[in-house]
């Protein structure tokens, strides 16, 4: 492959020089440039699209529309944002219009909502109000310090995590996917989803709490 993206150029707010070279090549109809983009972004876009729409078939269509949008729009890409942000914005728009067409897919109108209002930890784990030390642990979380690292890397453990993420309310799933799985910084997630920093943190908090609970159940019972 003649053109590659360095990992550093993926984030940030403006395109790096290699990104600009890629954009130029793509405008000339260079297939290698398109492949470089696709190799880097298609699979993460699929993961993000799945977080938006929840069905693999719909996600595939949304990502396909995204690539068409990239090709059609590349001539007008002005480099005011990074290429990555620009591509994800196209994905977001495609997912939104899909959501508007199909009521069952995306509760985009609810993206600002937090999904569920339950506590992070089962209240039964705490000493009830009115008693001495109310609100302190009645049963401590298990220490994971003694668990071997292989336990966390095992395919089965990762499947538990994937399963927990898949069953999150969509807004939580989207935020934890971008932040913790794809490693996006908070400000880019807020920008992409058009949510406030505080809202983003609430969604991330609920999502992490639920995934932790699923992992704890698995590690202590399994």
């Amino acid at each position: 492959m003649s053109i590659a993206l360095s990992p550093q150029s993926a984030g940030g707010t403006s395109p790096g020089t290699d990104e600009l070279a890629l954009v130029e090549a793509l405008r000339r109809g260079d297939e290698a440039a398109f492949l470089a983009l696709v190799e880097r972004y298609h699979a993460p876009l699929m993961r993000a699209a799945l977080a938006y729409v929840g069905s693999r078939a719909v996600a595939e269509e949304v990502v396909q529309e995204t690539w068409i949008g990239v090709l059609q729009g590349i001539a007008r890409f002005e480099g005011r944002s990074s290429l990555k942000t620009w591509i994800y914005r196209i994905l977001s728009n495609c997912a939104r219009s899909r959501g508007a067409r199909e009521a069952r897919s995306v509760p985009f109108a609810d993206l600002g909502a937090t999904g569920d209002e339950g506590p992070s930890v089962d209240p039964a784990s705490f000493i009830p109000p009115g008693q001495v030390d109310a609100g302190w642990w009645s049963s401590h979380p298990a220490s994971w310090a003694g668990l071997p690292e292989e336990r966390f890397l095992a395919a089965e453990t990762r499947a538990v995590i994937e399963g927990a993420v898949a069953t999150l309310p969509p807004a939580q799933r989207t935020v934890i996917t971008l932040r913790d799985i794809e490693g996006w910084p908070a400000d880019e997630v807020c920008q992409l989803l058009a949510i406030s920093d505080a809202n983003q943190r609430v969604l991330l908090h609920r999502a992490r709490a639920r995934v932790r609970a699923a992992l704890a159940r698995y590690l202590t019972e399994g």
Partner: protein, 88 residues
């Protein structure tokens, strides 16, 4: 260590709801100090915070999403179609 519920100390139940703000550096300094003071006194909350950190660690190491051969083939076809249509 056993002097719980003195003054405006955080409870464990309150602390677990502040964990993300803590990790995201979003707690105001006085809140952060209360959080740290509670952690220093509470093994259960230290273990809880460790569990959250390990969870984030595993999330970050899920299999990197990769492109399948089918997808690559389909996308190349999409690209060639676009290039032909665009008259390039």
């Amino acid at each position: 260590m056993d002097q719980h519920n003195t003054g405006d100390e955080l409870t464990c139940r309150e602390l677990v709801e502040l964990v993300t703000d803590y990790l995201e550096q979003a707690l105001p300094a006085p809140e952060r100090a209360r959080f740290d003071a509670h952690l220093a006194a509470c093994e259960g909350c230290r273990d809880y915070l460790d569990q959250i950190r390990r969870t984030i660690g595993v999330l970050g190491r899920l299999d990197p999403a990769t492109l399948t051969d089918d997808e690559r083939t389909r996308l190349i076809a999409l690209f060639r179609g676009w290039r032909a249509g665009a008259g390039r």
